[in-house]
């Protein structure tokens, strides 16, 4: 580990020489301590995987905390539909220096699915959020270009990956 980082610093001279944070499961303890009522149901099913539920209103500070603690790679954002009353946004956050993948789940109401955008924190959240938006209708506040990405433009408003989607054309 140490050697690898030394190499990296030689490569990119502009980076500050800071010992990168240790990527292990203690982050989950730190996370639940820092955000007392924001993170709950912490579970570590496998050595490399950790799962937790988070308060959808506090997703941005939680992600900022993770980024500051070395989890610099947002792997994926997925939407999950749980009819009749809620939806989940699942964030898979990991790091470029360790194997731990943290899955954070934010439950939001199904009739008003809104959550803050992560584009300011993780640059690559943009497309994942757009994809989740067009497939589930989850609105990401402040996402810079929240419009359809994969679907044809006239399919906006269809939300095809919702469980009650009956097929195109299905005006909702």
């Amino acid at each position: 580990m140490v050697d690898e980082n030394a190499d990296n610093e030689m490569v990119d001279g502009t980076r500050d020489i800071i010992e990168p944070p240790k990527i292990d499961r203690t982050i989950m303890v730190a996370l639940s301590e820092t955000f007392k009522d924001g993170v709950f149901d912490v579970d570590v099913p496998l050595p490399n995987r950790a799962v937790a539920r988070i308060d959808p209103g506090r997703v941005k500070p939680i992600m900022q905390f993770l980024l500051d603690n070395g989890f610099d790679h947002l792997s994926c954002i997925s939407g999950v539909d749980h009819p009749p009353d809620k939806m989940e946004v699942v964030y898979h956050v990991t790091s470029y220096s360790g194997p731990l993948v943290i899955a954070l789940k934010a439950s939001i109401p199904r009739d008003d699915p809104k959550i803050d955008s992560l584009c300011d924190i993780y640059w690559n959240a943009n497309w994942y959020e757009r994809e989740t938006y067009e497939l589930f209708g989850i609105i990401f506040n402040d996402c810079p270009y929240l419009k359809v990405l994969l679907l044809p433009e006239d399919m906006e408003g269809e939300w095809p990956l919702r469980k009650d989607y009956a097929g195109y054309p299905n005006p909702t």
Binding site: D7, R15, D81, Y96, V101, A103, L135, L150
Partner: protein, 376 residues
């Protein structure tokens, strides 16, 4: 990096033109639309529009049984079909609580690495033809034939291999495979070395590739790319090393990195990774244990317990992840595919801003994005 670099924000000035590259353009591996606002030969703004071959795989998978999904994972990206099989099967094995046999693990490593070699060969070939070097493309495709034949000998098919199974693999090795593979790979090693030499000494090629489309390590991390484009910046991030799956723990290999992060380095990483994969395969063929190649019990109607799994693999293009949620039925409740090409495609427009029109082909091809997988 700001998000404005991914969009065309204003209409073109009188001296600028809005040029559409796509959905049918010779540089593209598959259909996508790259809108460029150019002034003279310089790109001012770029925007990537995808979705021309959106197949709705995530929705389709929710309506298929677990076994039926398996062949469809091939079709996510035909150049990485073994990796996709493997990542899906490992996810399912986790959900089902079974473990592949030892021999199956080695066989999967073998096919994964062969798959990586043929994908890299085609990636480099496509890349070289995009800088106008048709000769190298044809050489690369010629070399790829041998590898595809090796894969065919194991899996029975040349493109969509569909080899991994829950708890094992589909077939055992054919007799005499080791000698055949070592012969082909030995020749390939020599050829790749000579191609590497050719590319590293061709002055016109160097002019076209050195210092073009440069990503620094911190930029690459910010853009969220993985795989060869990231390793070309010097970051030693390879899931085979970071999160050793199958038997990569027992194998000796180096994570290939380059330092410049430019187009040349990305291609160089792929070339050297081919050699490294050959080295891995030689070890695999040596160490392969005897024994069954699959579990005896093969559940045709698979009903995993409710739960969820996120399994990932080092694809030829980077980090391939599958997020499977099971509700206890024979079909997945939610199936999410996190493709590496999706991440690299997203990182393409910021790289293009400020470069020349002629470099679009070089940069886009050096990211080795697979449109089929981007659109899924």
């Amino acid at each position: 990096m700001t998000h404005t670099t991914t969009q065309i924000t204003s209409p073109p000035k009188p001296s600028e033109i809005l040029l559409h590259l796509g959905p049918q353009h010779p540089l593209q591996p598959g259909p996508f639309l790259l809108d460029l606002k150019i002034e003279g030969e310089t790109i001012r703004e770029a925007e990537l529009k995808i979705g021309y071959i959106h197949k709705g795989m995530e929705k389709v998978f929710e309506d298929r049984t677990y076994i039926q999904i398996l062949p469809l994972t091939d079709r996510i990206c035909y150049l990485a079909s073994n990796s996709n099989n493997d990542v899906y099967c490992r996810g399912m094995e986790e959900l089902l609580g079974i473990e592949p046999t030892d021999r199956a693990k080695y066989l999967r490593v073998l096919t994964n690495e062969l798959c990586r070699i043929q994908s890299h060969l085609l990636g480099i070939g496509e890349y070289t033809t995009d800088v106008g070097f048709l000769t190298m493309f044809i050489y690369m495709v010629r070399e790829r034939e041998g590898i595809v034949s090796l894969l065919e000998a194991i899996t029975g098919s040349r493109l969509n291999h569909n080899y991994a199974r829950f708890g094992g693999v589909a077939h055992d090795l054919p007799p005499g495979y080791k000698e055949m593979a070592l012969k082909t790979l030995g020749e390939l090693k020599k050829l790749v070395k000579s191609h590497d030499e050719m590319l590293s000494s061709d002055s016109v090629y160097l002019k076209r590739t050195k210092g073009v489309g440069v990503l620094t390590a911190s930029q690459a991390k910010e853009l969220g790319v993985a795989g060869p484009p990231l390793r070309a910046t010097g970051v030693e991030y390879d899931l085979r090393r970071v999160e050793p799956y199958l038997v990569y723990d027992d194998l000796d290999f180096d994570v290939i990195t380059q330092t410049d992060g430019d187009v040349f380095s990305r291609v160089k990483v792929r070339l050297l990774e081919i050699l490294e994969s050959i080295y891995i395969i030689e070890q695999v063929l040596d160490q392969m244990p005897t024994g069954p190649y699959k579990q005896n019990v093969m559940p045709y109607i698979t009903r995993p317990a409710p739960g969820e799994v996120y399994s990932r693999i080092e694809d030829p293009r980077g980090e391939m992840g599958m997020y499977i949620i099971s509700d206890g039925s024979d079909k997945p409740y939610r199936f999410r595919i996190r493709g590496p090409a999706f991440a690299t495609a997203q990182a393409l427009p910021p790289l293009l801003v400020g470069t020349y029109v002629a470099d679009v082909a070089a940069i886009a091809a050096s990211m080795d994005s697979c449109t089929s997988e981007v659109d899924r």
